[in-house]
């Protein structure tokens, strides 16, 4: 099994979720995170003193899947999360790592049936 972790722009969340459910992914855990990357933050002004908000709000999605699904999941995410046209800096990243075990708390099932 694999764990796919995607960092995306917050307002792409709905699109990505839809794309994932179309290919049969039923479980996602989402976290609000702050990203530091190539995309730079913006400057705010408060009483005449500037200050930089140099983190950007992003959403992290974690999706546990069986190994066979990795490619389709990564593609679904990257298609849905990419800004129109050429893509934009800050569209995000997808990370894949291996997952040794999964357990569904309710039933005690383990392995791919627990996903």
């Amino acid at each position: 099994m694999k764990m796919v972790t995607a960092i995306i722009k917050p307002f792409k969340l709905d699109d990505v979720r839809e794309a994932l459910s179309e290919i049969g992914v039923s479980g996602i855990t989402a976290t609000e995170v702050k990203g530091f990357g190539r995309q730079k933050g913006h400057t705010e002004l408060y009483r005449g003193a500037e200050y930089t908000v140099d983190f950007l709000p992003k959403v992290k999605l974690e999706i546990a899947i069986i190994a066979d699904q990795v490619n389709s999941v990564v593609e679904a995410i990257s298609t849905a999360a990419k800004s129109e046209g050429e893509g934009k800096i800050g569209d995000g990243k997808i990370f894949v790592s291996s997952l040794e075990q999964v357990l569904r708390i309710r039933t005690g099932e383990t392995g791919s049936v627990a996903l």
């Binding site: 705010e44 002004l45 408060y46 009483r47 005449g48 003193a49 200050y51």
Partner: protein
């Protein structure tokens, strides 16, 4: 029947004092909300405690001895029992006591986010019992300054207290900030000022509107009479001008920041409103509406520059801008009086401002230094980092929201 008529005048004037006083009391809520909105969430509960505590202390100390120093009336108000000549002396006390609290409220914002709560309370006790009443006696009660000279004789006029209340509060705050130093993280290694945004803008805005409303009582009540055509007209003009000046302050500050920085910085609009109000307070009775609006507008412009200069040039860390709003603009308010009021002179205004400054700054400075030596006035660095809410009050202002 003539008697009944005189009683009616007495009743109307007394009622007027009480209603105006209730509006001024309401300003305590305004300062609380303004300051609670402009500090960080980790310091919010403490500043609320500070505000309600200082209001209670001001009301109590002024009752114990302050009013007696300023106007006579006896220790513990033993001369005050709800009688009086033209209006109830109890109503007069009620109206005067909320002014003390206003002066004291000004201090709390400037020293926010780093001062020990009970050191502040100790300061409040002395300020409201002695420091403010002394200068109040020299000005509104017409006493000679240490028996030497009378400010009124020099052509000093401060209708509702741009100097006596607002500048005095700001000067006490300035002394406090100088002794206390800036908040950690306010200036970086190179001495550049860093913005520390306040946590809750709706609260700050609410506070400003409350102050705006309360100010009608502050200035309107300072006519000190209502029950005749002349005084009624005067009160009405004061209301009109107070409002015009506040509006002028908002517009000037907003346009200026838009020009300077391209953004309509809300906090400057709020400070602009307050600056307009402070500016007109020394003389809301003599200008025309247009003049009032312009006096307020100059206040609004001044406050924007003053906040930036104090912050960036003088490295005076005043989280809510109180020293600029009440001090710098309070001085402007004093100086603007002779422009429309022939009873006041520039030299008189400067003499009065100087007297207030020297007295309040000197005594406050000594007091802050004594408190620093005796009990310490600044929380530890770690307490400041975690927020004074936990260290001073033991609770959080927004336990479910903040991070």
């Amino acid at each position: 029947m003539e008697n009944t008529l005189i009683e009616m005048q007495f009743a109307l004037d007394t009622f007027y004092f009480l209603v105006m006083g209730a509006l001024v009391m309401w300003m305590a809520a305004g300062f609380s909300m303004l300051e609670a909105g402009l500090v960080r969430s980790k310091n919010t509960a403490e500043i609320l405690t500070k505000n309600i505590g200082l209001f209670a202390i001001a009301c109590t100390m002024y009752m114990v001895v302050g009013y007696d120093i300023m106007y006579g009336g006896g220790i513990l108000l033993d001369g005050i029992s709800g009688t009086g000549d033209k209006y109830s002396n109890a109503a007069d006390f009620y109206f005067q006591v909320v002014f003390v609290a206003t002066a004291m409220s000004i201090v709390s914002g400037a020293i926010a986010e780093r001062m020990k709560l009970f050191a502040f309370f100790a300061f409040a006790v002395v300020f409201t019992a002695v420091i403010y009443p002394m200068e109040g006696a020299w000005t509104w009660n017409g006493d000679a300054v240490f028996g030497l000279f009378k400010l009124a004789d020099l052509g000093f006029a401060d209708f509702a207290g741009s100097g006596i209340v607002h500048m005095a509060g700001a000067v006490a705050a300035l002394a406090g900030v100088l002794v206390l130093g800036a908040r950690n993280g306010k200036y970086d290694a190179q001495g550049n000022s860093r913005a520390i945004p306040g946590a809750n803008m709706p609260m700050a805005t609410l506070g400003t509107f409350i102050l705006w409303m309360g100010w009608f009582g502050f200035n309107g009540g300072s006519v000190l009479a209502m029950a005749s055509k002349e005084s009624a007209n005067a009160v009405a003009m004061v209301f009109l001008n107070t409002n015009a000046a506040a509006a002028g302050g908002v517009i000037a500050a907003l346009l200026l920041v838009k020009l300077l920085w391209g953004k309509a910085d809300l906090t400057m609009a709020l400070n602009g409103a307050l600056a307009g109000l402070v500016a007109i307070t020394a003389g809301p009775d003599t200008p025309s509406a247009l003049e009032a609006a312009l006096i307020g507008a100059v206040g609004g412009v001044l406050v924007v520059f003053s906040i930036n200069v104090l912050d960036k040039v003088f490295k005076i860390d005043d989280p809510v801008g109180a020293i600029s709003v009440h001090g710098v603009v309070g001085l402007w308010g004093l100086l603007a009086v002779p422009l429309t009021n022939s009873g006041a002179s520039f030299s008189g205004q400067l003499a009065g401002a100087g007297t207030i400054f020297i007295w309040v700054f000197g005594t406050s400075m000594v007091l802050w230094l004594v408190l620093k030596a005796v009990m310490g006035i600044r929380v530890s660095e770690e307490e400041e980092f975690s927020g004074v809410d936990i260290s001073e009050c033991g609770l959080e202002a927004y336990p479910e929201f903040t991070k």
